[in-house]
């Protein structure tokens, strides 16, 4: 939904990355961009909210503290539900991922704000963080036994190669599906929003009839905005749930 002043109707422009101050190390461009800025803003907003709201450590929570506690308990319940009590060792990771993705998605809903999670490289990096944790922890904890993940128990010996091949492909496709799901949802939602909002602008430029008929895309824009808030939460949640399920695999590979 991040807009731009120049080309109001280009729905892609909101994803454009512009340098704020250039940094170059060893010939590679590490500039601080608008994407970097909103990563920092996301972290700052989430951290400040969680720190300030729990500052009083109230026995009877304030509203803000209650929200912080609810997010804690929500993520804890999700993780415990799929990975069990052992899974709580990954709680900081899962909670950080949920809060980061959720706050980034929500900040993206503000007009003119950059949506960090609409960049495939960001969602892919987060997905690789999850899969990397699963793989490294899985081998660290179970050694070769982690490979049992690819050999489901109770499968006839004849079909084991086939099933294992499918399991391996499914495992390898996890980072792709995890990252593309979040990225595509945020990207498509923001483009749709921009396109419908663009219709309103175009039609209002076309005289009285245009203004009258602009009501329909305007109503749709409002409806899609509401839907996008839902999607922003839902995708953060889905990302978290899948993370929890993959972590459960690392903890208990034989399924």
């Amino acid at each position: 939904m991040a807009g731009n002043s120049g080309n109001a109707i280009d729905p892609i422009h909101q994803f454009h990355i512009s340098k704020i101050f250039p940094v170059e190390i060893g010939g590679v461009d590490f500039s601080f961009t608008n994407a970097s800025l909103f990563m920092v803003v996301t972290v700052a907003v989430a951290t400040l909210f969680l720190v300030l709201s729990t500052n009083r450590r109230g026995l009877v929570p304030s509203r803000a503290q209650l929200m912080a506690e609810m997010s804690y308990e929500f993520v804890a319940a999700t993780l415990r539900g799929s990975a069990g009590n052992d899974g709580m060792r990954f709680f900081p990771l899962v909670f950080s991922l949920f809060m980061f993705v959720f706050v980034a998605n929500m900040l993206g809903m503000f007009p003119y704000f950059f949506t960090v999670t609409s960049q495939i490289i960001v969602t892919f990096a987060l997905a690789m963080l999850v899969i990397g944790t699963v793989t490294i922890y899985g081998f660290f904890k179970h050694g070769v036994g982690f490979l049992k993940l690819f050999v489901p128990s109770g499968v006839p010996a004849g079909v084991v190669p086939l099933v294992s091949a499918i399991e391996v492909i499914s495992f390898l496709s996890r980072p792709v599906s995890l990252s593309v799901r979040l990225f595509a949802n945020m990207l498509a939602g923001h483009i749709t929003l921009k396109v419908f909002a663009g219709f309103v602008v175009m039609l209002t430029g076309a005289g009285a009839v245009g203004i009258a008929s602009a009501v329909l895309p305007l109503a749709l824009t409002v409806a899609i905005t509401a839907l996008e808030f839902l999607v922003a939460f839902l995708q953060a949640y889905v990302f978290t749930v899948l993370t929890c399920m993959y972590l459960a695999d690392a903890l208990h590979p034989s399924h």
Partner: protein, 183 residues
């Protein structure tokens, strides 16, 4: 990962859009910068979450759970104490009631016994007085009766004296006559 970046880069070349540039999310020239700043910001975020925020919220929730459990235990302890107090009060009340009944019963029987005693004594006294009176009456009666003959003889002597005149008959004669008449 560099292989994936390469793949995405080729995709980006296909995804050319209106403004002539590549589709921004697939523009691999921005990837190093995005990855660096993501690692920095997410790393700091993870560190703050795991070191500050999550222990703090966990502590708050645990404190509250402990406090509630403690309060519940205290409440059940107080309830037990109350129950005990009520039970002891009830038993004390029952004892007192029993004692009061006994005392009332005792007092009643004591009073009754005293009354009975007093009555018996009074009756005895009365009976004694009665028999005494009866004795004196019968004595007086007997005395009176013993004097009747004498009086009759005297009266008779006087009467005879008045009727016949002269001298009075001899006392013995009169008494003899009266006795005979009385018989």
């Amino acid at each position: 990962m560099s292989n994936t970046q390469g793949n995405l880069n080729t995709t980006a070349e296909v995804g050319i859009v209106e403004d002539g540039g590549s589709f921004p999310p697939f523009d691999s020239t921005t990837f190093p910068s995005q990855l660096l700043w993501l690692v920095l910001s997410f790393g700091v975020f993870y560190w703050v979450m795991s070191k500050v925020v999550l222990p703090r919220i966990g502590g708050i929730l645990e404190d509250r759970r402990d406090r509630i459990a403690g309060d519940m235990a205290e409440a059940s302890r107080l309830k037990q104490e109350t129950d005990e107090a009520i039970a002891s009060y009830e038993s004390a009340l029952a004892d007192a009631r029993k004692k009061a009944t006994t005392m009332a019963h005792d007092a009643r029987s004591k009073v009754k016994a005293e009354t009975e005693g007093a009555r018996a004594a009074a009756e005895e006294q009365l009976a004694a007085k009665l028999s005494e009176s009866e004795q004196s009456i019968s004595k007086i009666k007997a005395e009176s009766l013993s004097h009747v003959g004498e009086i009759a003889a005297e009266t008779t002597g006087e009467l005879v004296k008045a009727l016949i005149g002269g001298r009075a008959p001899a006392k013995a004669e009169v008494a003899k006559a009266v006795d005979a008449a009385l018989k």
